[in-house]
């Protein structure tokens, strides 16, 4: 019985489930390290997922769909940035509004575009993103499941983990972003434009979460369905916190939560353990970390407070 659950294909499904989480989680990191709490990841992913599928249906090319999803994510994040940075609205409230907005927008638009009740038409196999097989690794067990046969978005997500680390801790932008998230007054005094840096962080989160959403609709599946993220934006947020707002920590948390999703997938109907117990693992772990039982998750100090420049 255990063999049907724990096998090598579990590694591949871990990677698949971790991909959108990693992208959204890294995105959230750029926003939150800059001091803007981003609970809108769920809504941004939905926007990306829908846009990717809808555009691909229209033009027949998933790469264009992917770019459209990144753009859609950027635009949604722009709403977030305008409201919460420019207009100093409550960041959590804005995030909630965006999440609700994109529960409604995709079904309404797809109803008008495709005369459907919330889903986009099914894409033919050759119009979804391809799976890339890596020649040598393809014959090595374990490595094969982990590294080969995934869509380009997975490789992008993996590559972005070290890149994010580098950007955050080794570049001027990263230093400024962290400064703006910890102590905006000091950063401002030092001549850093708090608003501009925060904008950059939030917009970056939109692009990444938008691509994460696209993964769901044009790589892992071949259509958009109503509310297809099913809380993944929030799991990504949980991973970000579990990983203590650190790119590598967040990535490892995404792998863990991806593994949990893979296990619960394979367990269905095989094991008498209720699937709900596996599904709530990410949330319970995050609560435990927040309560300080395993290490302490300390958010960026200025998170959640709009910055008001002194005149």
């Amino acid at each position: 019985m255990l063999k049907t659950i724990i096998n090598l294909s579990l590694l591949a499904s871990m990677v698949r489930y971790a991909t959108p989480l990693t992208l959204a989680s890294l995105g959230g990191m750029f926003s939150e390290r800059g001091g803007v709490i981003n609970i809108a990841l769920e809504g941004i992913m939905l926007a990306g997922a829908f846009t990717a599928a809808a555009v691909t249906v229209k033009v027949g090319n998933p790469w264009i769909g992917l770019m459209a999803a990144a753009t859609a994510g950027l635009l949604v994040a722009l709403i977030h940035a305008l409201a919460s940075i420019q207009f100093k609205a409550d960041q959590v409230v804005v995030g909630t509004a965006i999440n609700i907005l994109f529960l409604g927008v995709p079904p309404l638009v797809s109803g008008a575009m495709f005369d459907s009740t919330g889903s986009t038409p099914q894409l033919p196999r050759d119009q979804t993103l391809p799976e890339w097989h890596i020649p040598l690794i393809d014959h090595v067990p374990v490595l094969k499941q982990l590294l080969s046969g995934h869509t380009p978005i997975s490789y992008l997500a993996f590559a972005l983990v070290p890149v994010s680390y580098y950007v955050l801790f080794r570049t001027r932008f990263g230093l400024r972003l962290r400064a703006v998230g910890e102590n905006p007054e000091a950063a401002d005094t030092a001549g850093v434009s708090v608003y501009r840096i925060r904008y950059a962080g939030v917009l970056l989160s939109g692009v990444l979460a938008g691509i994460g959403g696209a993964y769901l609709s044009i790589a892992q599946n071949s259509l958009f369905t109503r509310n297809m993220t099913g809380g993944r934006g929030f799991i990504a947020l949980a991973a970000l916190i579990f990983g203590k707002w650190h790119p590598i920590g967040a990535f490892l948390a995404c792998l863990l939560f991806g593994l949990a999703e893979g296990v619960s997938d394979q367990m269905q109907g095989v094991v008498p353990i209720p699937v709900q117990f596996i599904q709530i693992i990410p949330y319970v772990l995050t609560m435990v970390v927040l309560a300080g039982f395993i290490g302490r998750a300390t958010p960026p100090r200025a998170i959640g407070t709009p910055y008001i420049k002194e005149k």
Binding site: A89, D90, V93, L101, G104, L108, Q276, L290, G304
Partner: protein
């Protein structure tokens, strides 16, 4: 007087602006905005049925709106009302299921108590975590929402479901026999108005929970503005360190505010389980918890405002179905979009304020 005008004016501007943007969306998908506006008013307020349903849908939103408002007055954002009301609704049904044969009235009261306590505890946990460890209540309440959904879905599916029922719902706690409800429940409005000679259609699900919601508005008002406890809670919300300097415990008030907030959210369970469905149905909440944030914001975190805002949102939910049917391309998702736009506009109120100020100064 001036403040009253201001308090009413900005929410009103936000609602009108949202309806205008909503109208543009309708026009963009190829339907008539005027038709949609007309459908909204006639279906929600144009008949006894319309008003009955509007108030029925407003009932849970009054509870969640008050829940968010009370937490907000203490400087906390409870976005976990969704999880709290799920746990509460299940608790109410659970009491009904484990006490068969007990007098219906006793079970009803116990079930109501269970709903309120379950909601309070589910919200109190993030409260304690905030007070003791400084854990951000926004994050913890989000997590608690998912944990609630998982646990309750498990309990329903594995322990309290009728054998072979394809729907995720518990066994019934009361049943309608010859037109009368037998078992623990609270009466429908029709049954409550009949003794006074007022005939109200029995088909409308509006029930005693609506009156509880009105009472909750009054109690929350008195609590927040006329009691010492409410004063301290608000003091922490306005300036926590100043309140502490004045001898008020921040931690105690955070826990209390979250507990009361969850109790109010939990009362949604009374409406749905004891007043409407007579069982726990897993997908009963149409985002009531999150819409409560919009209700509280639009109602400026005041019970009277919450009541008005809840009725507006109840009307939106009611009209969604009609707008879906009687237009070519506009689906009931339009209503969801409108809710989101209202929240965005209310949240960005500073823009309107600034605009109005400039307008008054004559610089626009």
């Amino acid at each position: 007087m001036k403040t009253l005008v201001r308090e009413l004016l900005f929410p009103l501007i936000a609602v009108v602006a949202a309806f205008l943007v909503g109208g543009i969306i309708v026009w963009m998908v190829g339907d008539s905005p005027l038709l949609v506006y007309e459908l909204f008013f006639t279906s929600a307020f144009g008949s006894v049925d319309g008003i009955g349903y509007t108030l029925f849908y407003a009932t849970p939103l009054i509870f969640t709106g008050l829940a968010v408002a009370v937490a907000f007055k203490c400087g906390l954002l409870n976005i976990g009302a969704e999880g709290q009301l799920i746990v509460a609704a299940f608790a109410a049904a659970w009491v009904g299921l484990v006490l068969p044969g007990w007098p219906a009235l006793v079970v009803t009261l116990l079930a109501m108590l269970a709903a309120v306590v379950a909601g309070g505890v589910w919200s109190g946990i993030p409260g304690v975590l905030k007070a003791k460890f400084g854990a951000h209540e926004v994050i913890t309440t989000i997590m608690m929402n998912f944990i609630a959904a998982g646990l309750v879905s498990y309990l329903t599916q594995y322990h309290y479901r009728k054998q072979g029922d394809p729907i995720l719902e518990t066994l019934p706690i009361a049943e309608k026999i010859n037109g009368a409800v037998v078992g623990p429940h609270i009466p429908r409005m029709s049954a409550m108005l009949a003794p006074f000679g007022i005939s109200f259609p029995d088909r409308l699900p509006l029930n005693m929970a609506f009156l509880l919601a009105l009472a909750a508005c009054a109690i929350v008002y008195v609590f927040l503005w006329k009691t010492r406890w409410g004063y301290e809670l608000r003091a922490v919300g306005i300036n926590a360190s100043a309140a502490e300097y004045g001898g008020i415990s921040i931690a105690r008030n955070i826990v209390m505010a979250m507990f009361i907030s969850g109790m109010l959210a939990g009362m949604v369970g009374i409406n749905d389980v004891l007043g409407y469905r007579y069982r726990y149905y897993h997908n009963f909440s149409a985002n009531y918890g999150f819409t409560g944030i919009a209700v509280a914001l639009l109602g400026r975190n005041h019970p009277a405002g919450v009541l008005l805002a809840a009725i507006l949102f109840g009307a939106l939910i009611r009209s969604g179905l009609f707008i879906d049917i009687f237009t070519d391309n506009v689906s009931k998702d339009w209503v969801v979009i409108l809710q989101a736009i209202i929240i965005l506009f209310v949240a960005c109120e500073a823009v309107f304020r600034g605009g109005a100020k400039r307008f008054i100064r004559g610089t626009v």
